[in-house]
């Protein structure tokens, strides 16, 4: 093993990798850091939305592809009706509700990220560093927006439950 390979293998041992870093908000336990929770939720909801989008394309396209690969011997509009029948089941509705929550959170958080990342709004201005050394961005308006967005997403998610199950 060459020195460079040795270095790389050592490096990978102590690096948590994509999945652990994207799915576990407490992989690094830092105080005063809800942004990390928002980051992991944003990524997880992104995965949920992509999965839904793929399923949605398959579902709307079913009259076409079922002609080549029939479901339960059904093809064309009969296959479409069959899939619609599956989707009225309780677990499919539950999935729909989860997708609704994912979209709500992803959209609201995405709006906050657009403001901070593209326009530099809501982040702290540089200050003279003094003990106890608290980073200004962690007390800036973006933190308030984050809390508002959590609350609004939860309220709208609860409302969407009435629309889906009611």
């Amino acid at each position: 093993m060459s020195d460079d390979e040795k270095f790389r293998s050592l490096e990978m041992e102590n690096r948590q990798g994509f999945w652990k870093a994207s799915l576990n908000p407490w992989l690094i336990r830092a105080k005063n850091n809800p942004e990390r929770v928002a980051f992991v939720l944003h990524r997880v909801t992104g995965f949920i939305i992509i999965a839904f989008l793929l399923a949605h394309i398959l579902e709307t396209d079913s009259p076409v592809w079922s002609q080549y690969a029939p479901i339960n011997g059904l093809s064309g509009w009969a296959a479409w009706t069959y899939i619609m029948g599956i989707e009225s089941a309780w677990w499919a509705r539950l999935g729909e509700w989860i997708v609704a929550g994912a979209v709500l959170f992803h959209a609201l958080n995405g709006f906050r990220l657009l403001l901070t990342e593209f326009f530099g709004l809501g982040i702290g201005k540089p200050v003279e560093p003094k003990p106890p050394y608290e980073a200004p961005t962690l007390n800036a308006p973006q933190r308030t927006w984050l809390y508002i967005e959590f609350v609004v997403a939860l309220v709208l998610w609860a409302f969407s439950a009435f629309l889906i199950f009611g």
């Binding site: 948590q16 690094i28 005063n32 850091n33 942004e35 200050v127 003279e128 106890p132 980073a135």
Partner: protein, 302 residues
Amino acid sequence: MALDIEAATKLPPKVITVRVRRYNPETKKIWWQEYKVETHKGMTMLDVLLDIKENTDHTLAVRYSCRMGLCGSCGVNINGTPMLACQTQVSQVTSNARPVVTVEPLPNFPVVKDLMTEFSDFFNKHRSVKPYLIRKDTEEQENPKGHLKMNPEEFIDILQFSNCIFCGLCYSSCPVVAADPEYLGPQALMYTFRFINDVRDEGHKERFAIVDSEHGCHRCHFAATCSAVCPKAVDPAGAIQGLRSKLFKYRLGFFKKKSSEVLSAPPEKGERVPLPPEATTLPGVDLKQFEKEPVVIKLPKE
């Protein structure tokens, strides 16, 4: 992480158990080892590690230098949080209900031995963003004739970022570095912003070209853990968002760089006109009396 000032006044548990994640590069073995340490008031985690090294186990490898949070050598992962061992009180991370503390090497860095990590990747990334003043007039930069103008507000803009001690805590806590080893990391991007913010600097085009890449500032996801663990409130997360918004403006053609002029040089000795003696003496001092009885102060010969 913000300093826990009150923790120094609290009494830690009398005996604590320290679990250290150890690594031997010769046998490539990783294991957890437990040590019992007697504590005292005001004891830091670095004191604990040095106590182990002195009295219990001489083979434990720890890197440290200044013991007061200035050099940034003693960064370790304490109870899952990257911290400077010298700035962490034992009473801050343990309690009487749970007198156990785990110490690991910093994540995202290759481990050399036990708690020592390899920083060459980190420093190479720091060097890659050209962390020095770049002037268009290179002749003036090599042989300066005067100071560069900068007002106190402009100084505050870069002071916070200049406080970085290169401890690597931000880099170790970043989820993007964990996923993408090529990512420049919070520290290097923060330093880019520091020089773009600097009115004396004129190399913003070169730096924008470096960070405007796949592994540059667009990779950041604003998890802000870098700012949460920073021991000096350098705030890399805010700096990266500022850098991105400036890059966004730059790409649209709206970015205007503040520039600084060279101040004129101070006058030569001969040009200076001394003030009249009345202007330099305190009220109540009689100059005529002073001429009669001068106070002679003998200065040592050079």
